[in-house]
C-alpha cells in the first residue's frame, strides 16, 4: 500500500467518478423535469 500510484488513482478516480455522477444526475433531473412539462402540456391539450 506504499505505492503512490494507488493513492493517486484512488484520489483522481474518485474525483472523476464524482464529477461524472453529478453530470449524469443533472441530465436525469432535466429529462424528468422536461417530462413533467410535457405531461402538463398534454393535460392542457385534453382540456
Amino acid at each position: 500500500m506504499n505505492d503512490p500510484q494507488f493513492y493517486l488513482w484512488m484520489a483522481y478516480g474518485a474525483t472523476a467518478a464524482a464529477l461524472l455522477a453529478e453530470m449524469a444526475w443533472l441530465r436525469v433531473a432535466r429529462a424528468r423535469a422536461l417530462r413533467a412539462v410535457n405531461e402538463e402540456r398534454a393535460l392542457e391539450a385534453q382540456d
Binding site: Y7, L8, E40
Partner: protein, 239 residues
Amino acid sequence: MSFFYFSSPATFYRLAGSLAPGFFALALVAGLAGLYVGFAVAPTDAQQGEVYRVIFIHVPAAWMSMFIYFVMACYAAMALTFNSRMAAMLARALAPTGAMFTFVALWTGAFWGRPTWGTYWVWDARLTSELVLLFLYLGFIALAKAFEDPRRGDRAASLLAIIGVVNLPIIYFSVQWWNTLHQGSSVSLRGTSMHVAMLWGMLLVAFAFWMYAIAASLNRARTLILERERRTRWVRDLR
C-alpha cells in the same frame, strides 16, 4: 435594466441556457491544462515524492467547498431579504455541487494523509470542520426538500445556510487557532512557498472547478425553474 431583471425565472432560464455550455468548455480546457502542468511540468516533491500530486485536486476542491458555501449563503440571504424565488433556487442549485466538492476534498485528503501522515483520518480541527461543512450541505439539501411547499423549504434551508457561515472562518483559521496535524496554508495573497509550476497546476484546476461549479449550478437552476414553473404559460410555450 433593473437590478431585478435577472430575478425573473423566464429571463434567467434563457440566459443560463446560453452561458452554461461556455462554462463547461472553459472547465474542460482549464482542467486538462491543469492536469498537464500538474503531472508533466511540476517537479516531484523532495519530501513527499509523487503522492503530493493529490494536492492538484485536493486544494482546489477544498477552496471550492468553502467558496460555494459562501455564495450559497449570499443567495440564501438575498432570498430571505428580498423574498426572491430565483435567489432561493440558485442557493438550492449550488448545494449539491458544493457537497460534491466537500466530499472530494475529504476523500482526496484521506488518500494524501495515509502515505504522508500514516492515517486516512484524524479528528483534527481542519478535517472535522470540513466534515461539518459536508453535513451543513447535506442538511441544507434535506431541509429544502422536507416541505411540501417549496417556498417554506427555501426559507428553512436559507436560514440554515446563513447560520452555517460561521463554520467557514473556523475551517480557514483552524490551522492557526489550534495545534493541528493539517499543515498551514502554502498559498496566500502575500505569496507562496511552492514551486511556481505546482502553483500554476493548482490554480488551473481551481479555475476549472470554479467554471464547472458555475456550469453545473446554471444547469441545475434551469431544471429547478422547469419543475416549479411547469404550469406557467412561458414554460409550456418552450420549444
